[in-house]
Symmetry: C2
Subunit: 137 residues, 2 copies
DNA sequence: CCGCATTCATTGCACAGTCAACCAATGGCT
DNA sequence: AGCCATTGGTTGACTGTGCAATGAATGCGG
């Protein structure tokens, strides 16, 4: 029966992850949406903002791809949208001319500063006390 | 500094959830794909299979909607696909004629039995020992 | 009994994401 | 130097999902 319990525990844990992930993701999306952002958009903005506090916060696309759980194509389109909204700027990398640097604009930085507390609040509210709710609901 | 730590811990925990979720989800998808299923498909099949071991494993759509983290529309389409593949069957609920019962077919049950160990194996492999991998890689 | 608000499920539309194909640039090899 | 395999990023076609609107059935209130 110990084996059975372990198996059940695993499944239970998976369901829990699924649940927490869905709830939190959805809530972040909901909070960020009025500002024209989705959860993935914020994640990229956040990485860009924290990666290089200075003005040279240039980051190669492949570097980003490693940090967010998105395919290169999704990331490319996402950056395209962000660029269209004037939040980031693309520039060719001089060293590797097939590489592309992505940098936050002032507007992008402002928006990030504005929405960061909102995201943090959601995290605190939904992930706050408990490490892994394993019982009901 | 305690405050700062708590905030960092929250964010770290969130990133961890994101990471584990993405990895596991992706792996389940990859393992199930050869059998023509996605992770969501399996989840519905799994609920249907475990919900009523007898032959009357009928389950209303709204009942399913509460257990999987999908919108009603997504669920409806998903059931549509499953039905098209002959894995489940829809039947109108006699009591509430606006409700729909969903039931596993023999084929659906067989497939579930076939792929269940695969999903379990992934869970064991990726969620296996550690509650929350917090270090490298 | 008839209308009206509510609930269950499905469908139209838009959007984000993946996979595969593609172009551009680089680096090694002959 | 010229060629070929490899890497970096973008684009096309397709799939899956959510929101909002719709159709159908129920139940309540006049």
């Amino acid at each position: 029966m110990a084996v059975k319990t372990a198996e059940s525990r695993l499944e239970e844990r998976w369901r829990d992850i699924l649940s927490v992930h869905a709830r939190t993701m959805c809530e972040i999306d909901r909070v960020l949406h009025p500002h024209g952002l989705g959860a993935s958009d914020f994640e990229v903005l956040d990485i860009l903002a924290s990666e290089a506090p200075g003005q040279g916060d240039q980051c190669r696309v492949q570097n980003l791809a490693g940090r967010v759980h998105l395919s290169q194509s999704a990331l490319s389109r996402l950056i395209g949208r962000l660029e269209k909204d004037g939040l980031v700027e693309r520039s060719v990398c001089a060293e590797d001319r097939r590489g592309v640097y992505v940098a936050l604009t002032g507007k992008g930085r402002d928006l990030h500063t504005e929405v960061l507390p909102l995201q943090r609040e959601v995290l605190a509210r939904l992930l706050g006390g408990r490490a892994a709710a394993h019982g009901s609901s």
